[in-house]
Symmetry: C2
Subunit: 174 residues, 2 copies
Protein backbone atom coordinates (compact mmCIF):
# COMPACT_ATOMS: atom_id res chain seq x y z
CA UNK A 1 0.00 0.00 0.00
CA UNK A 2 3.02 2.21 -0.16
CA UNK A 3 3.52 2.75 3.56
CA UNK A 4 3.51 -0.66 5.25
CA UNK A 5 6.59 -2.74 6.05
CA UNK A 6 7.74 -5.60 3.85
CA UNK A 7 9.54 -8.77 4.83
CA UNK A 8 11.92 -10.39 2.35
CA UNK A 9 12.58 -14.03 3.24
CA UNK A 10 14.59 -15.68 0.49
CA UNK A 11 12.46 -15.27 -2.64
CA UNK A 12 9.29 -14.58 -0.65
CA UNK A 13 8.12 -11.03 -0.13
CA UNK A 14 5.40 -10.47 2.46
CA UNK A 15 3.91 -7.04 2.92
CA UNK A 16 1.51 -5.85 5.66
CA UNK A 17 2.56 -6.30 9.26
CA UNK A 18 -0.26 -8.68 10.22
CA UNK A 19 0.58 -10.97 7.30
CA UNK A 20 4.27 -10.76 8.16
CA UNK A 21 3.68 -11.75 11.76
CA UNK A 22 1.44 -14.70 10.82
CA UNK A 23 4.00 -15.79 8.22
CA UNK A 24 6.87 -15.61 10.74
CA UNK A 25 4.81 -17.52 13.28
CA UNK A 26 4.54 -20.50 10.95
CA UNK A 27 7.92 -20.29 9.29
CA UNK A 28 9.89 -19.85 12.52
CA UNK A 29 7.85 -21.57 15.25
CA UNK A 30 10.83 -21.44 17.63
CA UNK A 31 9.82 -17.81 18.33
CA UNK A 32 6.16 -18.39 19.16
CA UNK A 33 4.04 -15.26 18.76
CA UNK A 34 0.85 -17.08 19.63
CA UNK A 35 -0.09 -19.27 22.61
CA UNK A 36 -1.07 -22.90 22.02
CA UNK A 37 -4.49 -22.53 23.61
CA UNK A 38 -7.01 -21.71 20.88
CA UNK A 39 -9.17 -19.36 22.95
CA UNK A 40 -6.15 -17.39 24.14
CA UNK A 41 -4.88 -17.43 20.58
CA UNK A 42 -8.17 -15.94 19.39
CA UNK A 43 -7.82 -13.18 22.00
CA UNK A 44 -4.50 -12.33 20.37
CA UNK A 45 -6.08 -12.27 16.90
CA UNK A 46 -8.85 -10.02 18.16
CA UNK A 47 -6.48 -7.60 19.88
CA UNK A 48 -4.28 -7.42 16.78
CA UNK A 49 -7.33 -6.80 14.59
CA UNK A 50 -8.72 -4.07 16.82
CA UNK A 51 -5.43 -2.20 16.58
CA UNK A 52 -4.76 -2.89 12.89
CA UNK A 53 -8.30 -2.52 11.52
CA UNK A 54 -10.22 -0.32 13.93
CA UNK A 55 -7.63 2.05 15.37
CA UNK A 56 -4.59 2.32 13.13
CA UNK A 57 -6.32 3.11 9.79
CA UNK A 58 -8.26 5.95 11.43
CA UNK A 59 -5.41 7.54 13.37
CA UNK A 60 -2.54 7.21 10.93
CA UNK A 61 -1.01 10.59 10.23
CA UNK A 62 -2.04 10.71 6.56
CA UNK A 63 -5.69 10.55 7.53
CA UNK A 64 -5.33 12.71 10.64
CA UNK A 65 -3.61 15.41 8.59
CA UNK A 66 -6.34 15.16 5.96
CA UNK A 67 -8.99 15.70 8.64
CA UNK A 68 -6.97 18.67 9.87
CA UNK A 69 -6.98 20.15 6.38
CA UNK A 70 -10.60 19.61 5.41
CA UNK A 71 -12.17 20.27 8.80
CA UNK A 72 -9.83 22.23 11.03
CA UNK A 73 -6.39 21.73 12.58
CA UNK A 74 -8.22 21.73 15.93
CA UNK A 75 -10.09 18.60 14.89
CA UNK A 76 -6.97 16.43 14.48
CA UNK A 77 -6.43 15.57 18.13
CA UNK A 78 -10.12 14.91 19.00
CA UNK A 79 -10.44 12.79 15.85
CA UNK A 80 -7.48 10.59 16.78
CA UNK A 81 -8.46 10.44 20.44
CA UNK A 82 -12.02 9.41 19.57
CA UNK A 83 -10.98 6.52 17.35
CA UNK A 84 -8.20 5.31 19.63
CA UNK A 85 -10.53 5.56 22.64
CA UNK A 86 -13.22 3.54 20.89
CA UNK A 87 -10.72 0.76 20.21
CA UNK A 88 -9.31 0.96 23.74
CA UNK A 89 -12.79 0.43 25.22
CA UNK A 90 -12.97 -2.82 23.26
CA UNK A 91 -9.42 -3.85 24.21
CA UNK A 92 -9.92 -3.14 27.92
CA UNK A 93 -12.96 -5.46 27.93
CA UNK A 94 -11.38 -8.08 25.67
CA UNK A 95 -8.26 -8.49 27.80
CA UNK A 96 -9.90 -8.23 31.25
CA UNK A 97 -10.03 -11.99 31.83
CA UNK A 98 -6.79 -12.90 30.05
CA UNK A 99 -4.14 -10.36 30.98
CA UNK A 100 -1.27 -11.34 33.23
CA UNK A 101 2.04 -9.58 33.24
CA UNK A 102 1.39 -9.05 29.52
CA UNK A 103 -1.80 -8.65 27.50
CA UNK A 104 -2.86 -12.29 27.29
CA UNK A 105 -0.85 -13.92 30.08
CA UNK A 106 2.66 -13.88 31.45
CA UNK A 107 4.38 -14.25 28.07
CA UNK A 108 4.79 -11.72 25.27
CA UNK A 109 2.52 -12.60 22.36
CA UNK A 110 1.09 -11.06 19.20
CA UNK A 111 -1.31 -8.80 21.11
CA UNK A 112 1.59 -7.16 22.94
CA UNK A 113 3.38 -6.40 19.68
CA UNK A 114 0.37 -4.39 18.58
CA UNK A 115 -0.44 -2.88 21.95
CA UNK A 116 2.99 -1.57 22.94
CA UNK A 117 3.42 0.89 20.05
CA UNK A 118 -0.31 1.73 19.97
CA UNK A 119 -0.33 2.61 23.68
CA UNK A 120 2.84 4.63 23.32
CA UNK A 121 1.30 6.45 20.37
CA UNK A 122 -1.95 7.16 22.21
CA UNK A 123 -0.27 8.40 25.36
CA UNK A 124 2.74 10.27 24.04
CA UNK A 125 1.62 11.51 20.65
CA UNK A 126 -2.13 11.92 21.07
CA UNK A 127 -2.25 12.65 24.83
CA UNK A 128 -5.22 10.34 25.34
CA UNK A 129 -6.79 10.44 28.81
CA UNK A 130 -6.19 6.88 30.02
CA UNK A 131 -8.36 7.10 33.15
CA UNK A 132 -10.93 4.70 31.71
CA UNK A 133 -8.28 2.14 30.74
CA UNK A 134 -6.49 0.96 33.90
CA UNK A 135 -5.50 -2.40 32.41
CA UNK A 136 -4.05 -0.84 29.27
CA UNK A 137 -2.22 1.73 31.40
CA UNK A 138 -0.69 -1.06 33.47
CA UNK A 139 0.40 -2.87 30.31
CA UNK A 140 1.98 0.31 28.98
CA UNK A 141 4.00 0.58 32.20
CA UNK A 142 5.12 -3.03 31.83
CA UNK A 143 6.19 -2.51 28.22
CA UNK A 144 8.20 0.51 29.22
CA UNK A 145 9.98 -1.60 31.85
CA UNK A 146 10.65 -4.51 29.47
CA UNK A 147 14.06 -4.10 27.81
CA UNK A 148 13.13 -5.58 24.41
CA UNK A 149 10.24 -3.09 24.15
CA UNK A 150 12.16 -0.13 25.57
CA UNK A 151 14.55 0.05 22.66
CA UNK A 152 11.81 -0.19 20.06
CA UNK A 153 9.56 2.33 21.77
CA UNK A 154 12.40 4.79 22.05
CA UNK A 155 13.27 4.37 18.38
CA UNK A 156 9.78 4.54 17.00
CA UNK A 157 8.07 7.22 19.00
CA UNK A 158 7.84 9.31 15.87
CA UNK A 159 7.22 6.46 13.48
CA UNK A 160 4.43 4.36 12.09
CA UNK A 161 2.74 2.12 14.64
CA UNK A 162 2.97 -1.01 12.55
CA UNK A 163 6.71 -0.76 12.25
CA UNK A 164 7.41 -1.25 15.94
CA UNK A 165 5.82 -4.67 16.14
CA UNK A 166 7.92 -5.78 13.21
CA UNK A 167 11.12 -4.37 14.66
CA UNK A 168 10.45 -6.29 17.85
CA UNK A 169 10.77 -9.56 15.95
CA UNK A 170 14.07 -8.52 14.45
CA UNK A 171 15.32 -7.56 17.88
CA UNK A 172 14.23 -10.85 19.40
CA UNK A 173 16.03 -12.76 16.68
CA UNK A 174 19.17 -10.67 16.85
CA UNK B 1 -16.41 -2.50 18.44
CA UNK B 2 -20.16 -2.37 18.32
CA UNK B 3 -20.58 -3.16 14.65
CA UNK B 4 -18.55 -6.27 13.87
CA UNK B 5 -19.89 -9.84 13.84
CA UNK B 6 -19.42 -12.17 16.79
CA UNK B 7 -19.06 -15.95 16.79
CA UNK B 8 -20.34 -17.92 19.78
CA UNK B 9 -18.78 -21.39 19.89
CA UNK B 10 -19.76 -23.12 23.12
CA UNK B 11 -18.45 -20.82 25.87
CA UNK B 12 -16.06 -19.03 23.52
CA UNK B 13 -17.02 -15.68 22.03
CA UNK B 14 -14.88 -14.37 19.18
CA UNK B 15 -15.50 -10.94 17.74
CA UNK B 16 -13.96 -9.37 14.60
CA UNK B 17 -14.31 -11.24 11.33
CA UNK B 18 -10.56 -11.79 10.79
CA UNK B 19 -10.22 -13.32 14.27
CA UNK B 20 -13.33 -15.42 13.66
CA UNK B 21 -12.01 -16.80 10.40
CA UNK B 22 -8.59 -17.65 11.87
CA UNK B 23 -10.32 -19.28 14.86
CA UNK B 24 -12.60 -21.37 12.61
CA UNK B 25 -9.63 -22.38 10.48
CA UNK B 26 -7.93 -24.01 13.46
CA UNK B 27 -10.99 -25.29 15.28
CA UNK B 28 -12.60 -26.85 12.21
CA UNK B 29 -9.75 -27.77 9.85
CA UNK B 30 -12.11 -29.92 7.76
CA UNK B 31 -13.21 -26.67 6.08
CA UNK B 32 -9.79 -25.32 5.14
CA UNK B 33 -9.76 -21.57 4.56
CA UNK B 34 -6.05 -21.46 3.94
CA UNK B 35 -3.84 -23.42 1.57
CA UNK B 36 -1.07 -25.60 2.97
CA UNK B 37 1.68 -23.82 1.07
CA UNK B 38 3.10 -21.08 3.30
CA UNK B 39 3.75 -18.56 0.54
CA UNK B 40 0.26 -18.96 -0.88
CA UNK B 41 -1.05 -18.79 2.66
CA UNK B 42 0.75 -15.48 3.18
CA UNK B 43 -0.87 -14.16 -0.02
CA UNK B 44 -4.20 -14.93 1.60
CA UNK B 45 -3.20 -13.12 4.80
CA UNK B 46 -2.06 -10.12 2.81
CA UNK B 47 -5.24 -9.94 0.71
CA UNK B 48 -7.40 -10.23 3.83
CA UNK B 49 -5.39 -7.50 5.55
CA UNK B 50 -5.58 -5.13 2.59
CA UNK B 51 -9.37 -5.42 2.60
CA UNK B 52 -9.83 -5.39 6.38
CA UNK B 53 -7.22 -2.79 7.35
CA UNK B 54 -6.65 -0.60 4.30
CA UNK B 55 -10.00 -0.53 2.52
CA UNK B 56 -12.85 -1.43 4.85
CA UNK B 57 -12.12 1.01 7.72
CA UNK B 58 -11.96 3.92 5.25
CA UNK B 59 -15.05 3.10 3.23
CA UNK B 60 -17.43 1.87 5.88
CA UNK B 61 -20.63 3.87 5.82
CA UNK B 62 -20.14 5.47 9.25
CA UNK B 63 -16.95 7.13 8.06
CA UNK B 64 -18.22 7.85 4.54
CA UNK B 65 -21.31 9.55 5.98
CA UNK B 66 -19.10 11.54 8.35
CA UNK B 67 -17.02 12.76 5.42
CA UNK B 68 -20.25 13.65 3.65
CA UNK B 69 -21.33 15.74 6.62
CA UNK B 70 -18.11 17.56 7.42
CA UNK B 71 -16.92 18.11 3.85
CA UNK B 72 -19.77 17.76 1.38
CA UNK B 73 -22.21 15.06 0.29
CA UNK B 74 -20.42 15.21 -3.09
CA UNK B 75 -17.21 14.07 -1.43
CA UNK B 76 -18.62 10.71 -0.23
CA UNK B 77 -18.29 8.81 -3.48
CA UNK B 78 -14.81 10.12 -4.46
CA UNK B 79 -13.60 9.43 -0.92
CA UNK B 80 -14.76 5.81 -1.01
CA UNK B 81 -13.56 5.30 -4.57
CA UNK B 82 -10.13 6.69 -3.76
CA UNK B 83 -9.54 4.38 -0.79
CA UNK B 84 -11.00 1.31 -2.47
CA UNK B 85 -8.98 2.02 -5.61
CA UNK B 86 -5.77 2.36 -3.63
CA UNK B 87 -6.35 -1.05 -2.07
CA UNK B 88 -7.33 -2.57 -5.42
CA UNK B 89 -4.04 -1.43 -6.98
CA UNK B 90 -2.23 -3.42 -4.27
CA UNK B 91 -4.53 -6.45 -4.66
CA UNK B 92 -4.21 -6.54 -8.44
CA UNK B 93 -0.41 -6.69 -8.11
CA UNK B 94 -0.44 -9.07 -5.13
CA UNK B 95 -2.63 -11.67 -6.85
CA UNK B 96 -1.15 -11.44 -10.36
CA UNK B 97 1.09 -14.49 -9.99
CA UNK B 98 -1.21 -16.54 -7.79
CA UNK B 99 -4.76 -16.25 -9.11
CA UNK B 100 -6.42 -19.20 -10.79
CA UNK B 101 -10.13 -19.62 -11.00
CA UNK B 102 -10.19 -17.90 -7.61
CA UNK B 103 -7.93 -15.30 -5.99
CA UNK B 104 -5.03 -17.55 -4.96
CA UNK B 105 -5.59 -20.66 -7.06
CA UNK B 106 -8.41 -22.94 -8.12
CA UNK B 107 -9.90 -23.31 -4.65
CA UNK B 108 -11.84 -20.84 -2.55
CA UNK B 109 -9.71 -19.53 0.31
CA UNK B 110 -9.63 -16.71 2.85
CA UNK B 111 -8.75 -14.07 0.24
CA UNK B 112 -11.92 -14.85 -1.72
CA UNK B 113 -14.08 -14.42 1.37
CA UNK B 114 -12.79 -10.88 1.69
CA UNK B 115 -12.70 -10.08 -2.01
CA UNK B 116 -16.18 -11.20 -3.03
CA UNK B 117 -18.13 -8.76 -0.83
CA UNK B 118 -15.51 -6.02 -1.27
CA UNK B 119 -15.69 -6.24 -5.05
CA UNK B 120 -19.46 -6.31 -4.99
CA UNK B 121 -19.43 -3.28 -2.73
CA UNK B 122 -16.99 -1.36 -4.93
CA UNK B 123 -18.83 -2.11 -8.14
CA UNK B 124 -22.46 -1.97 -7.10
CA UNK B 125 -22.48 0.50 -4.25
CA UNK B 126 -19.59 2.79 -5.05
CA UNK B 127 -19.59 2.48 -8.85
CA UNK B 128 -15.82 2.17 -9.01
CA UNK B 129 -14.30 2.24 -12.49
CA UNK B 130 -12.73 -1.22 -12.73
CA UNK B 131 -10.80 -0.62 -15.96
CA UNK B 132 -7.46 -0.73 -14.17
CA UNK B 133 -8.29 -3.98 -12.38
CA UNK B 134 -8.88 -6.72 -14.99
CA UNK B 135 -7.95 -9.55 -12.62
CA UNK B 136 -10.27 -8.33 -9.88
CA UNK B 137 -13.02 -7.85 -12.44
CA UNK B 138 -12.60 -11.44 -13.60
CA UNK B 139 -12.74 -12.67 -10.01
CA UNK B 140 -15.91 -10.69 -9.42
CA UNK B 141 -17.48 -12.41 -12.42
CA UNK B 142 -16.44 -15.80 -11.06
CA UNK B 143 -17.89 -15.06 -7.62
CA UNK B 144 -21.17 -14.05 -9.21
CA UNK B 145 -21.23 -17.37 -11.05
CA UNK B 146 -20.38 -19.43 -7.96
CA UNK B 147 -23.57 -20.59 -6.20
CA UNK B 148 -22.25 -20.36 -2.63
CA UNK B 149 -21.26 -16.74 -3.23
CA UNK B 150 -24.38 -15.82 -5.20
CA UNK B 151 -26.70 -16.26 -2.26
CA UNK B 152 -24.52 -14.27 0.11
CA UNK B 153 -23.91 -11.47 -2.36
CA UNK B 154 -27.62 -11.16 -3.05
CA UNK B 155 -28.39 -11.03 0.65
CA UNK B 156 -25.71 -8.63 1.69
CA UNK B 157 -25.62 -6.06 -1.08
CA UNK B 158 -26.85 -3.46 1.38
CA UNK B 159 -24.95 -4.75 4.36
CA UNK B 160 -21.59 -4.51 6.03
CA UNK B 161 -18.74 -5.96 4.00
CA UNK B 162 -17.31 -8.03 6.82
CA UNK B 163 -20.58 -9.83 7.36
CA UNK B 164 -20.59 -11.54 3.98
CA UNK B 165 -17.38 -13.44 4.53
CA UNK B 166 -18.73 -14.74 7.81
CA UNK B 167 -22.06 -15.77 6.30
CA UNK B 168 -20.18 -17.73 3.68
CA UNK B 169 -18.78 -20.01 6.37
CA UNK B 170 -22.22 -20.63 7.82
CA UNK B 171 -23.51 -21.45 4.36
CA UNK B 172 -20.66 -23.84 3.66
CA UNK B 173 -21.32 -25.65 6.91
CA UNK B 174 -25.10 -25.76 6.52
Amino acid sequence: MGYVPALVDGTTVVSDSYAILLYLEEKYPQHALLPQDLVRKSINYQAASIVSSSIQPLQNMVLVNYIGEIVSPDEKLPWAQYHIGKGFVALEILLANYAGKYATGDEIYLADLYLAPQLDNAINRFKLDMTAFPLLLKLNKTYNETPSFQQILAETQQQHTDKSAFDFIKLQEA
